[in-house]
Subunit: 480 residues, 2 copies
Amino acid sequence: MADWRPDRDSPLPIYAQIAGYFQSKIGGGDWPEGMKLPSQRELARQLGVNRSTVVTALGQLAALGLIEGRQGGGTRVAGKERTQKTAGSWNDYVEEGIHYPNLPAVQAINRLEFRPELLRLGTGEPAPELLPGEQMRSILAELTREELPLAYEEPLGSLRLRRAVSKELGRTGIQAGPSSILILSGALQGIQLISLGLLPKGAGVLLEKPSYLYSIHSFQSAGVKLHGLPMDGRGLVTEGLEAQAARTKAALLYTIPSFHNPTGMLMDAERRRELMEKTAALGLPVLEDGAYQDLWLDAPPPPPLKALDRNGQVLHLGTLSKSASPGLRIGWVAGPEQVIRRLADIKMQTDYGASSLSQLAAAKWLEDGCHARHTGALRLMLRQRRDVMLELLELHFAGLAEWTKPSGGFYVWLRLNKSLPLPKLFRTALAEGLLLNTGDLYDRSDARHLRLSYAYASPSGLEQGIAKLAELVRRMGRLS
Amino acid sequence: MADWRPDRDSPLPIYAQIAGYFQSKIGGGDWPEGMKLPSQRELARQLGVNRSTVVTALGQLAALGLIEGRQGGGTRVAGKERTQKTAGSWNDYVEEGIHYPNLPAVQAINRLEFRPELLRLGTGEPAPELLPGEQMRSILAELTREELPLAYEEPLGSLRLRRAVSKELGRTGIQAGPSSILILSGALQGIQLISLGLLPKGAGVLLEKPSYLYSIHSFQSAGVKLHGLPMDGRGLVTEGLEAQAARTKAALLYTIPSFHNPTGMLMDAERRRELMEKTAALGLPVLEDGAYQDLWLDAPPPPPLKALDRNGQVLHLGTLSKSASPGLRIGWVAGPEQVIRRLADIKMQTDYGASSLSQLAAAKWLEDGCHARHTGALRLMLRQRRDVMLELLELHFAGLAEWTKPSGGFYVWLRLNKSLPLPKLFRTALAEGLLLNTGDLYDRSDARHLRLSYAYASPSGLEQGIAKLAELVRRMGRLS
């Protein structure tokens, strides 16, 4: 009960608030039958009230038959009435609904990432100290001198932000005007909107295997089927694409050509051209995820697929989440106007647009050149961390695993020399304080890979974590 | 082309940027075959470049066969190659996808609301001058002194905001701790998450008829069917609920008990108790939309249904959109923890949480008491506007229509004495500069109602608009 306290300013008496809260916890099934309540003294302490107030509240609950005292067993949640009544409650629907739940491991990771004592070795976001807190504060300070957009924004999103994004895209070789751009509440939302708005049920989607997309369920929940394509050192393998497309009745191809998640791979320029030619010939639309493309570490990547697109064949996703701020929840999708309008219409039905405050901050961030400056600085820091990680891998994983040096993004895709039960490795590592992103999240059948991220853990954290991880892998390898 | 200009700072030559932009517009189908391009001089002006640059770019496009000069007809978009190539492009998918588009009229309204010359007589948001621009700027200024949450937030949303919402709910009689609350990107998202996450396909939903929910497609797109229930002066009619629930295999009941959208109706305390008893007996979960409940004008409404809920039977939706700021996109849903966690999991897959900046601003807004103060002031202003509207209706619509005085919210539900073709009324009014929300948006078969809003148009705008509207209705009534 630690997360709730009665409100002294409320017109409702304190004891009634407490009784109401307990009743809703019990009635709603959050506190199951037989659950033991803390002592009256302890409850009074937790709720910050007098013991007599607790006694009054408990008396009321007992009178309703919701709690009962047992000899020597303290006070417990009673069962009978509740069980009978919760039939037909919302709890019955938790297993219903067409949208799949996240994988249990992903749910666990989403929760565990907020446990500060854990060392996060695979996290897909920059560490707090890499985020531009100071600069963003200056942006906010400047915004206090402007007219704040507190009303709803246009369906496509703030024109000012779309203009700034248009310019940003222009730098990568994509010429898209504001009317070809939809502002998203993060790039992930683009995938959701496309799966709800553009794809017929049962459509097939070709994508790299492994892929980030396997770890979420937007496409699958819309009844779309994923079909993995192999990768080599130059990116997605295009050989055999025609046959695969035909066999799977593919409706689109999803790809992360630059600094792929989870492998860190870069698709080279020639492969990009091949892919565009083949998909054009096949009439296969392409969804390009450019989330990491700005985060090159050694040299800029080749122009995005969208820059090569002459047929309205590519939808291009971009985001501020991997560089400026995940929390802002600002992304975008660029493509043919008709398609963008259709997605905007579904977005209006979904969340009525992205936060206008985030949109304004993002526009200013891009306009003032903060983004370019920050991304430049971030690259330097990521490069250092990558190099630390590569040295540590050399030191601890030689003979245990293989890897390649990523030329951008956040990830090293570690290939263990020996298959391991990854869910067990996840649990064991967790018990040792390490939070891992195991390969099976990105390819259900995988038993050999870990997605390591040098973006989150500090260099000293990496030092500790990689050493400990190597030890665990070695130990588990001997046992298996 | 007015919305795009080449970027002088880009490494790509200006002519190449222009050619790339034109090529993507033509290839993507945004500029159809035969479309006439402006003259070279005009293009140079619009793009802010020399005419010679335009000539170079057009030359390149002509060489690719994308444009052609016609005798005396200027330059036009060529057709052949494009038509052949766009097969298999994203444009082919615009009619696909499981999510329904918005009603054409709703799409039109969503666009037209951004035309400042139109008088908006039915809009569901407060006028810009009623929004707390000044106070929100102070909040932002204070935030610049805090640690900004630039990282991802917890699946349920910022704990700080959930604590503030918990307190806010407590004031209405709902005792819900932070773990029973999910922060939404606007309350509308709650409907989307529930339809994707909790309801089996083909489930039936009972709701008031008319209802706001008929104007969006979240439920319908998830394969859920809506079944309207009648209303009387005391709210949703509960008589016959059992039979309706059985006949429609209803999975839930959706209701806006306080200041219903679009009718402005208030469900009285007795009807609320009846509804809770009947739905409890039926085992029928309730989705309560509390969007307008704070905006009482004469007296506070009875406690929300959720405050009467003892069985985890009610999910309660709330929002800041109708008072503090639509643009912040902050809403919440409160209910049993299990259910809230399931919805949070789908939210993570949908948009990875609401904007952290919006969440922080909202938390501060609630904590500092700004919300209570602003809502108080807003009530005064809305009351004045309501009274102005009622006087104007008396003046212009006596004998033409009937209405009741709303005791809160934004709307008067005007019942015309004579049926009219509402789509035609919408178009005619639009031609005269009035943007209407006609009754058929909220009940497909309706031909007699208009949702009038006193929240958006200024008192002088209302004066003008209501007079003009009466004239149109009278004229159309004579014709029909």
